[in-house]
């Protein structure tokens, strides 16, 4: 497997000659492409996990959480990789995901 190392170079001298992924995305984050951030309103969320199914990245994690007697997990946006495409907000059946503008 590709090395899990952070890729950094200073210029032409030490960079590879073509665009090539050299390290694992586990350490090389891609979330900085995003200009809209999804924010889940857990009050309205029905925990159907449709957002998790549709996320193309996939950057919606499932975390353990005792929401009710029957529900023991919740969707959490992984902002390290979320590109802000808004598919989760579009697909959410109760419209509990809001796309908020990223501030620099």
């Amino acid at each position: 497997m590709a090395d899990e190392k952070e890729i950094k170079w200073t210029g032409v001298k030490d960079m590879p000659p073509m665009a090539v992924s050299l390290g694992s995305m586990r350490v090389n984050k891609t979330g900085n492409w995003r200009n809209l951030r999804p924010v889940i309103d857990y009050e309205k969320c029905i925990y159907c996990f449709i957002c998790w199914k549709f996320c193309p990245e996939p950057s919606i994690d499932i975390e353990a959480a005792q929401i009710s007697e029957r529900v023991d997990k919740k969707p959490v946006i992984n902002l390290n990789y979320c590109k802000g495409c808004g598919i989760c907000a579009e697909e959410c059946p109760v419209k509990c995901i809001e796309m908020v503008k990223e501030e620099i």
Partner: protein, 384 residues
């Protein structure tokens, strides 16, 4: 082994001797017999290579790229419209830094349909990042393929070896086909640092933002620059093993030449004869053949043309609305030199019109009798 072969087959044997592992080609016009022979060699087991028949030249280059990206030595060949159809992927091959070698037979674009020689097809690809070598004999065609793999694989850029349609491609000449064992010593198997490998997976060519794209382009330019020395050095190494040497340019009777005729490909071959004749008449004239067009040997041209009285460039190509490409580049190379000689530009032989010794003597007469170019460009032999 000395054999009498045509230029097309010089390309094929070059690819065979280089142990090309994948050949992807579209076999229909404007293709020539290059891949016909290669497909036979693959089919009867003389060549241990995968021959992929594809549905277009675009796919031929795409398949060559796929093969090359896995670390295999890839070869293809095409011509005119076929090369034009490859255009989009030619940029990709260079940008991906794949050491593919391709033969291109210079054929004129349609319409009207033509299968005869003209350089517009390859000249139209000069900004793709590919190196371009224009050969002037069948021996040079074969040798250039072997040399090209050596250079391409060192600088990670693709190379086009180019020859004139019919005048070379379908003309039979004596060619020394070297022993495989010697070629193997000259050209070791391809080792690529970055390649498609399921044991060490990478993604290639991903979206690169302006913060690093610019540097990747600079690296291509650096590699092109590096190629100039490499072509000369590997050419010397080639001479030691095979007895023949080729560099960026070829000089013929240049020592005391006051008038220099510059050309490429087979027009330059014919110029040898013309220069011999003119020399017998006491004319101080020499030939400078530009063999490598990309990278362009500006430095060499400046050095060689310093102090000459007149220079003429004969182009078998035309950038419509302007002039010939070799002329443009030669002028550009000399522009910042103080007291550079006048440079005359000639168009000749488009669409395969014969450029005979008489045509070239006419050109010499114009240059000899004209003090400074009176026209931006001279068209030779047009029936007005």
């Amino acid at each position: 082994m000395r054999s009498v072969i045509m230029g097309n087959h010089a390309l094929s044997y070059g690819a065979k001797l280089s142990r090309a592992q994948v050949i992807a080609a579209y076999p229909i016009t404007p293709q020539t017999e290059v891949v016909e022979l290669l497909s036979q060699l693959c089919a009867n087991g003389d060549m241990k290579a995968k021959f992929i028949k594809v549905e277009s030249e675009h796919s031929a280059m795409a398949a060559s790229m796929g093969a090359s990206a896995t670390g295999a030595r890839a070869f293809t060949a095409t011509s005119s419209q076929g090369l034009a159809l490859m255009h989009e992927v030619l940029h990709w091959a260079a940008g991906a830094r794949l050491p593919i070698v391709m033969g291109n037979i210079n054929r004129a674009f349609g319409p009207p349909w033509s299968i005869w020689t003209e350089q517009n097809d390859s000249i139209a690809q000069r900004d793709t990042g590919w190196l371009q070598i224009y050969a002037s004999s069948n021996q040079e065609v074969l040798d250039s393929i072997i040399q090209s793999y050596k250079v391409a694989e060192k600088i990670s850029l693709p190379i086009m070896v180019i020859l004139d349609a019919f005048v070379l491609s379908h003309t039979y000449e004596v060619v020394d086909i070297p022993e495989q064992s010697i070629v193997d010593k000259y050209l070791p198997p391809l080792e690529m640092e970055y390649k498609l490998d399921w044991k060490n997976p990478h993604a290639f060519g991903g979206l690169t933002k302006p913060d690093w794209y610019y540097e990747l382009r600079y690296q291509i330019e650096e590699a092109q620059e590096q190629a100039k020395k490499l072509i000369v050095d590997t050419g010397k190494e080639f001479k030691e093993m095979f007895g023949r040497e080729y560099g960026l340019v070829e000089e013929y009777k240049m020592d005391d030449a006051e008038i220099v005729l510059i050309s490429s490909s087979t027009i330059a071959s014919t110029l040898h004869v013309v220069i011999d004749e003119l020399r017998e008449q006491g004319k101080k004239v020499g030939l400078l053949r530009i063999r490598v067009f990309r990278p362009f040997p500006s430095e060499e041209l400046r050095k060689i043309l310093k102090g000459r009285k007149k220079v003429a460039v004969i182009d078998r190509n035309i950038s419509f609305g302007h002039e010939g490409a070799f002329f443009t580049e030669t002028k550009a190379a000399l522009f910042n030199e103080k007291d550079h000689p006048p440079i005359f530009g000639f168009i000749a032989g488009l669409g395969g019109r014969d450029v005979t010794p008489d045509v070239l003597k006419d050109i010499f007469n114009i240059v000899e009798t004209t003090e400074w170019p009176e026209k931006d460009i001279y068209w030779i032999g047009v029936k007005l």
